[in-house]
């Protein structure tokens, strides 16, 4: 609380930028302003990355803490703070939002002002979730994120945009309502919304049934967001209909809000309940892995395929979290390390998936802008005419199928390394996903689109434009760099994870 309220500045900077958008009337000015401001915001998040030293933070400690009483009547505080868990996701949000806005300036020419306003506004919600340390505040930001996304899908989306937008909205809202009840329950039981104080408190006087009810209520909200099977069906529709940049943010950040919730809220506040119910979570995670890969394999729409592959990929992250939950009551040092590795893997998967799937959705946009179709059967042999596009797509798909040397592998390795030590029989089923995703990508994307005889229809298809290359290059560089040398990221994350896990032991 000393010096500048850094986190508030970062969180609300996009709001200020969005308000300025409202004041501008020239489309060109709006676009330039959005790119510049989102870039500056990204630089702020990057600065935050270097300004926070997660290793200096002990269990339950946070950097740049801000705390103001907000609604004293019910003990609600405006409380923000960050640690090794949240900063990487904040920086990722800054990066993906900037790239999305940059890319959008070239493809969005319809209702420009609203679009960029909403996009910047969306960033406020995402930042807010990652920075808030008061459950009430968290909930407010959690809900704020829904609204701009609803409109982004509903206005700039594909043919079935209204159905998809409403489904997205209602589905996530339904989950949130249960979480709200659970939050109120927590409040009436402990008298606080403080996420730094709730861990370690005895809830509901030790009544396990009530604790379980609250746990499942919150679980549902997060599981829908992740999404875990069987709560995933909003995702393919939302992704397919959303505009390119909307899909990027949806997959890149919004899904991570759910995963982040598991780690920031469910695990530390309900360690015993989570430990009791871990098999359910683990089984749902493994189903998500295998089922997501198989259903993705059945797709003929490129975008829908990638949407389902997210179910698979987030399943890996959830498997890591479930494996950690399985042993929350153990204090064997070997188990402690395995647990840390599993959770590290989950968070690294958030980041890797954000970069890789973000790139994949951009690439879908690239081809759709040209061909006006995403039907995989309509392509074939494009490697002969669009070699640059082929190279980018190959890099992203191989990253996504977990090729060692690229970021996706690092998280898969850590998740399975952790899971095999803690719950080997479930992990053994999960590895099926590794083979299935490889089959799915190589067959459905690489072969159907790029290999084989060139389809006559596309012989004049133009290769990638400079701005498309500019959007994708940072992502490719990052997921390669983090795959070859993940230590910089993991030094950061590991410190946060160790602190988090120490909190529970």
């Amino acid at each position: 609380m000393n010096g500048l309220p850094i986190l508030s500045i970062i969180t609300f900077a996009p709001l200020v930028a969005a308000l300025v958008v409202l004041l501008l009337n020239n489309e060109r000015a709006i676009k330039t302003w959005s790119v510049v401001s989102s870039f500056v915001i990204f630089l702020l998040t990057l600065w935050l990355w270097f300004a926070v030293d997660p290793k200096a933070l002990g269990p339950g400690e946070f950097a740049f803490l801000e705390e103001y009483s907000w609604i004293p009547a019910i003990n609600v505080f405006y409380r923000m703070g960050v640690d090794g868990l949240s900063v990487p996701l904040i920086t990722l949000t800054g990066l993906l939002t900037f790239l999305s806005i940059f890319y959008s300036t070239y493809v969005i020419n319809h209702r420009v002002k609203e679009y960029f306003f909403l996009f910047l506004f969306l960033e406020v919600g995402m930042f807010g979730v990652f920075t808030s340390l008061d459950y009430f505040l968290f909930y407010v930001f959690w809900e704020i994120g829904l609204v701009p996304m609803y409109f982004l899908i509903g206005i700039w989306g594909g043919p079935r945009r209204e159905y998809a937008a409403i489904k997205f909205f209602i589905y996530t809202l339904a989950g949130s309502v249960l979480m709200l009840l659970a939050i109120l329950g927590l409040y009436f039981s402990t008298g606080t919304f403080d996420l730094t104080a709730l861990p370690g408190q005895e809830l509901f006087g030790g009544n396990f049934v009530l604790k379980s009810l609250a746990f499942w209520g919150i679980f549902l909200a997060f599981a829908i967001k992740v999404p875990m099977w069987p709560f995933h069906t909003w995702l393919p529709d939302a992704h397919v209909e959303a505009p390119t940049a909307g899909s990027v943010i949806l997959a890149g950040i919004l899904l991570k809000l759910g995963g982040y919730g598991f780690l920031r809220i469910l695990m530390p506040i309900f360690p015993d309940v989570f430990n009791a119910y871990w098999p359910v979570v683990a089984v749902l995670a493994v189903i998500s892995i295998v089922y997501g890969a198989l259903v993705a394999m059945a797709q003929w729409d490129l975008k829908k395929l990638i949407a389902y592959s997210s179910v698979n990929h987030m399943g890996y992250a959830m498997l890591g979290i479930a494996a950690a939950a399985a042993t929350l009551n153990s204090s064997d040092p070997a188990v402690l390390d395995s647990r840390a590795i599993a959770v590290n893997g989950a968070i690294f998967q958030f980041i890797a998936h954000g970069l890789i799937t973000g790139a994949l959705f951009f690439l879908v946009g690239v081809i759709y802008e040209r061909a006006h179709t995403r039907d995989l059967k309509a392509f074939g042999g494009l490697g002969a005419v669009v070699p640059k596009y082929y190279a980018f797509m190959a890099a992203a798909t191989f990253a996504s199928l977990g090729l060692p040397g690229l970021a996706g592998f690092v998280s898969e390795f850590m998740v399975f390394r952790g899971a095999f030590a803690l719950i080997p029989y479930i992990a053994a089923i999960g590895v099926l996903g590794i083979v299935l995703t490889a089959a799915m990508y190589l067959w459905k994307i690489i072969q159907m689109v790029f290999l084989g005889p060139l389809n006559e229809k596309w012989k004049d298809l133009p290769d990638m434009h400079w701005w498309e290359i500019a959007t994708l290059t940072p992502l490719v560089i990052l997921f390669t760099l983090f795959g070859v040398y993940p230590k910089p990221i993991l030094d950061y994350v590991n410190a946060g994870v160790v602190a988090l896990l120490d909190l529970m032991s």
């Binding site: 259903v295 840390a340 060692p404 053994a428 590794i434 490889a438 290999l451 084989g452």
Partner: protein, 752 residues
């Protein structure tokens, strides 16, 4: 000496730099690109040999040279990557970059550098037709630079694998090679066959990779490390023997589980039964790639891995899971050899031969013959690279003939089909047209067949057979049942090998030209034949590094040169930290060597003799032209189907397609229906509709049961929904204003 070892991590860096500079900078300059690749490989080769010489006498078995790099923080500990040099690494460094450099040089000629560039239009015609409408030869490969980029990365992967001291780094290199093999098998991506083969190779090996991945995850969680020099110690292996893996209600012992999972990875990468199916199809890639994959690099990786991890298999006592390795290897050796006898494509014969020879290596490792297995891997690398490059030269010559004939006939307006330049039945008498290719090919064939004394293949194969023979004669048939089976199967394999190679020589180089194209085949350029000659020298000379000192005449001779059993001396202590003792030497056994020599000569000569006089080209049915097929046809009832079964590789592909591929795809389609059309999403929508229904019911109650107050609520709901509809169709600004008001209100609350 130590100071040179410090540069070991640089070895793979040269080809990586070559890869990056070609991809990013010199793509458009073909000759420069291939020069960069060759320089990168050559520098890696020079440094590798320097490291090898530095390792001589450095006592690396007991204290491997190690360099570490912190890579992953893992809770309270840290995961370190490492580079390691021990005798096994050092000897691999002799072979890998050297063979690769030769292959790179050869590739410049194979891809016709300096010849005509094809036009944009020809390129489109080529790709549109899926590779059928080829431009007039010779033309330089349009994706020439990309080829050299890929093979450079491939080499970098193999070199990383060899110098890796850490199993995760090894796995990364292993998969990078998988990627490169995918890209290279599918190099002519516009051909459907190439695209399918590439996919098949990647996915089949990935099945093995996943097993390996699980093995590593378990090994890491049990030992707390993946560094070889930390795991392969007596203490850690004791620990693994005690450890178990809990699977639900039962516990299984950790050591065999981990060892077999690792072996599973090797089975995929080294194309052993039942994961061998990808390798013959991998022939779709350019021939230098086949040499690269089948000789110097990727397939050797599986053998290398098992040799590396052999202490986990308890090689000195012989464990049941070590027997699994022996049996899979020996079975594959014979299984693949029988298929090779019935193949017609020159490269396919070699592909099955590779599978079979890799089986020899695993069989050797599987009876504890660490040195014999590694020795055969080394000699095989030289002569199989020679044979593949030689077959590439043959195909190159044949393609010239095919184009010549096509061009010649063009004026006459005759209808003609292009004969397949890879089908051996379209060849014949090529020793007249391609003498240099012929002589070198002959050397390679003799080495593979194991012609005694003068070939490297004889010495390495003999060592495997002698090792097996020694054990079973020493221990008796009950104790030594496995070595006996190995010895028997490999001896049968030896005669089959000699025979199918004799058949190939007879069909390709002897007899009469069976097509016009063969008559116009011509010798390949120097850039291709010189690497063949160098490899031929090694295919003969490399056997001298491990001649047992009790060999008549040659034993004393090599002893006086100081190289008798040199490889044995060099490698014997490799696993001493884990095993506590060194590997035993294998003496020269006259009965074994005599028998296998006789079989090799008989098979090879018999093959040439049977096939040199055949008539009938590729268009004639096998039962008319092929003497062995005719022999099969004489067996009533089962004869012809039996031959067909060999020709069709025991229908393994078909079985996998029916049992694995199609069910998985069908299941995926079913799940999607389940997800989207039948169960899950309909439930979601059903809940939605139910919600609306409840709302409607509520509305009816409102209207008919409750009074006007409630009607007012309904009215408001109507208004609200009308408002929402408006928002969605047009006036976001209005909503934004509301949103803003909300935010301001919140901010107001906050400020108060």
């Amino acid at each position: 000496m130590e100071s040179i070892l410090n540069y070991t991590p640089l070895i793979p860096v040269f080809p990586i730099v070559a890869f990056l500079s070609i991809i990013l900078l010199t793509r458009d300059n073909k000759r420069l690109s291939s020069t960069i690749a060759i320089v990168g490989a050559a520098l890696a080769w020079l440094l590798s040999w320097a490291v090898f010489f530095a390792s001589l006498g450095a006592k690396l078995a007991e204290h491997p040279y190690v360099q570490e790099l912190a890579w992953l923080p893992t809770g309270s500990s840290i995961f370190k990557m490492s580079v390691m040099v021990d005798p096994l690494t050092a000897i691999m460094l002799v072979m890998v970059p050297f063979v690769a450099t030769l292959i790179f040089i050869y590739s410049t000629g194979y891809h016709n550098v300096g010849k005509r560039e094809i036009s944009e239009e020809e390129w489109l015609r080529l790709t549109r037709s899926g590779g059928k409408e080829m431009p007039e030869a010779p033309y330089v490969e349009p994706k020439y630079s990309r080829f050299f980029a890929y093979v450079s990365l491939f080499l970098a992967g193999m070199l990383t694998l060899v110098v890796s001291g850490n199993l995760l780094l090894l796995f990364i290199a292993w998969e990078i090679m998988g990627l490169c093999s995918y890209l290279l098998i599918g190099f002519w991506f516009y051909k459907d066959s190439a695209a399918n083969a590439a996919k098949k190779a990647f996915l089949t090996t990935r099945v093995g990779d996943v097993l390996l991945f699980m093995g590593l995850a378990l090994l890491y969680s049990k030992t707390g490390s993946l560094n070889l020099y930390e795991i392969l110690t007596a203490e850690k292996i004791e620990l693994l023997k005690e450890a178990t893996v809990t699977l639900g209600f039962m516990s299984i012992p950790a050591l065999p589980t981990i060892a077999l999972l690792i072996f599973g990875g090797a089975v995929g990468k080294s194309a052993q039964f039942p994961l061998h199916v990808w390798l013959p199809d991998a022939m779709e890639g350019p021939t230098p790639v086949s040499a690269m994959i089948h000789a110097a690099t990727m397939v050797a990786a599986g053998v290398f891995l098992v040799a590396r991890m052999l202490p986990l298999f308890e090689p000195l006592e012989g464990s049941w899971w070590l027997n699994v390795v022996a049996l899979i290897g020996a079975f594959t050796a014979v299984f693949a050899a029988t298929i090779a006898v019935a193949q017609n494509d020159i490269k396919r014969v070699l592909a099955y031969s590779t599978i079979s020879q890799l089986g020899y290596m695993f069989a050797a490792l599987g009876i504890g013959g660490f040195i014999a297995g590694v020795f055969h891997m080394l000699t095989h690398a030289f002569f199989k690279a020679l044979l593949f490059l030689g077959s590439g030269s043959v195909i190159h010559g044949m393609e010239h003939g095919v184009h010549h004939v096509a061009h010649h006939n063009h004026g006459h307006g005759e209808h003609h089909d292009h004969p397949d330049p890879q089908d051996m039945w379209n060849m014949g008498n090529l020793r007249k047209h391609m003498p240099e290719t012929f002589w070198t090919y002959l050397v390679g064939t003799m080495a593979l067949a194991g012609i005694p004394i003068i070939t490297a293949g004889f010495w390495s194969k003999d060592e495997i057979l002698a090792e097996a023979y020694e054990i079973w004669t020493h221990e008796g048939l009950t104790q030594g049942a496995i070595p006996f089976i190995v010895w028997l199967l490999l001896t049968i394999g030896a005669v089959l090998t000699a025979f199918y190679m004799g058949r190939q020589l007879g069909l390709v180089f002897w007899g009469k030209e069976r097509t016009e194209a063969a008559k116009h085949a011509h010798e390949s350029p120097r850039s291709m034949t010189v690497p063949l000659m160098v490899l031929a020298i090694f295919s003969i000379g490399f056997g001298w590094i491990n001649i047992p000192d009790n060999t008549p005449v040659l034993g004393p001779l090599t002893e006086s040169l100081g190289i008798a059993g040199w490889l044995h001396e060099f490698l014997a202590e490799t696993h001493i930290a884990a095993l506590g003792e060194k590997y035993h030497g294998v003496p020269f056994v006259m009965q074994v060597a005599g028998l296998s020599s006789l079989l090799a000569i008989a098979g090879l000569v018999g093959g040439i003799w049977l096939y040199k006089g055949v008539t009938g080209d590729a268009t004639v049915s096998a039962f008319e032209r092929d003497p062995v097929a005719r022999l099969f046809a004489k067996i009533p009832l089962i004869g012809k189907p039996l031959w067909r079964m060999l020709e069709n590789k025991y229908y393994v592909d078909e079985i996998y397609s029916a049992l694995v591929v199609r069910p998985v795809v069908a299941f995926a389609d079913f799940l999607f229906k389940f997800d989207d059309a039948w169960i899950i999403d309909p439930i979601v929508n059903g809940v939605g509709r139910f919600g609306r229904f409840i709302a409607d019911v509520g509305r009816l109650i409102d209207v008919y049961v409750v009074d006007g107050t409630v009607n007012l609520v309904g009215f408001m709901a109507d208004e609200l929904s009308a408002g929402l509809r408006r928002l969605q169709t047009g006036r976001v600004q209005n909503y934004l204003v509301i949103l803003l008001a909300g935010v301001l209100a919140l901010a107001g609350l906050f400020l108060s």
